[in-house]
């Protein structure tokens, strides 16, 4: 193929027919990874369902220790970050380098806000001895209102689900920083923005998981 470089854009690898096939393959690969992620979180949701079916009264009681207001604020923060990621992809598709950079920066900022709020929620609970599993050691005031023998299990599930979700947020921030640095170097344009697209898919999944975690953990009355 002597005229390879003449017919193929620089970003297209040898084994792809064209840029579009490469893009669709990358996206398919990401969706397969997201299937794996859904089933990975699915195991945790399954534990939640089993224990809620066993101890419905525990979930009603224990959820009162979670702050609905901050949970709702974090939901809004994540929805906002999903919107800015979608706008970042749109900017890349329209060759708007500045728009791409700004939207990525806002996304990183919102993701950090989410983690800071989460940190203060954890800090407050651990201060009251509301810890998972065998670390359960509540203050007398908490023990008086939450005297269920399995209370530590609810918080085991709470910490596991939110911490694994939080880990995904941290990984997401790292990916967004990487995208931002590449965007500044002008690596992305309407012909090639695959990393922005598939990182966006990952970020939306992190948002999707939280959309279910929020009502299941915080909104049980």
């Amino acid at each position: 193929m002597a005229n390879h470089s003449a017919t193929h854009p620089k970003h297209v690898h040898h084994h792809f027919v064209n840029s579009n096939q490469q893009f669709e393959s990358a996206k398919l690969g990401m969706w397969v990874f997201l299937v794996n992620e859904i089933l990975f979180f699915g195991g945790l949701f399954c534990a939640y369902i089993v224990f809620r079916a066993w101890y419905p009264e525990l979930f009603t009681q224990a959820a009162l220790e979670l702050n609905t207001f901050w949970g709702a604020v974090n939901t809004v923060v994540l929805i906002g970050s999903s919107l800015t990621v979608a706008m970042a992809i749109r900017s890349a598709q329209n060759n708007q380098k500045r728009g791409l950079e700004i939207n990525l920066l806002i996304t990183i900022l919102l993701a950090c806000v989410f983690l800071v709020i989460k940190y203060f929620e954890y800090e407050h609970k651990l201060h009251l001895g509301i810890a998972p599993g065998s670390f359960w050691n509540p203050t007398p005031e908490i023990a008086a209102v939450l005297d269920h023998p399995k209370a530590n299990i609810f918080f085991g599930i709470y910490y596991m689900m939110t911490a694994v979700h939080g880990l995904h947020v941290i990984i997401g921030i790292a990916l967004m920083v990487w995208l931002y640095l590449r965007a500044r170097k002008g690596h992305f344009n309407s012909e090639y923005y695959t990393p922005v697209e598939i990182t966006g898919l990952y970020w939306h999944l992190v948002d999707l998981i939280w959309i279910f975690l929020f009502p299941l953990l915080y909104l049980i009355e």
């Binding site: 399954c46 369902i49 979608a86």
Partner: protein
């Protein structure tokens, strides 16, 4: 449709519309939870709203609405296997005489 690849470019108006719809649904789910509906309507309403939000995110933010059907099939397949996993587990845990003591 762009003339280069056929990639759909969502308009800014569309994306903001979805974002605002998601915010309204978030306010709605908090409001409905505050009503204190009797079980199981509390959990059913919360899950109905969460599924609506999830549909909006998957269809428009993740672009499945404009995408090849194969990617939608993967997502639906993941949900089907999740339901299978939960169902088979519940067939055991719901019908135990005694919950395992240490659990």
């Amino acid at each position: 449709m762009s003339e280069h690849h056929g990639h759909h470019i969502a308009s800014a108006k569309q994306l903001w519309g979805i974002g605002i719809a998601l915010l309204i649904l978030t306010v709605l789910t908090v409001t409905v939870a505050g009503l204190g509906l009797p079980s199981p309507f509390d959990i059913l309403s919360a899950m109905a709203i969460a599924l609506t939000k999830a549909f909006l995110v998957a269809a428009f933010f993740m672009g499945l609405y404009w995408d090849t059907k194969f990617n939608s099939m993967l997502l639906i397949g993941a949900l089907a296997f999740f339901i299978l996993m939960v169902s088979i587990t519940l067939l055991d845990t719901l019908y135990r005489d005694d919950v395992v003591p240490s659990f």
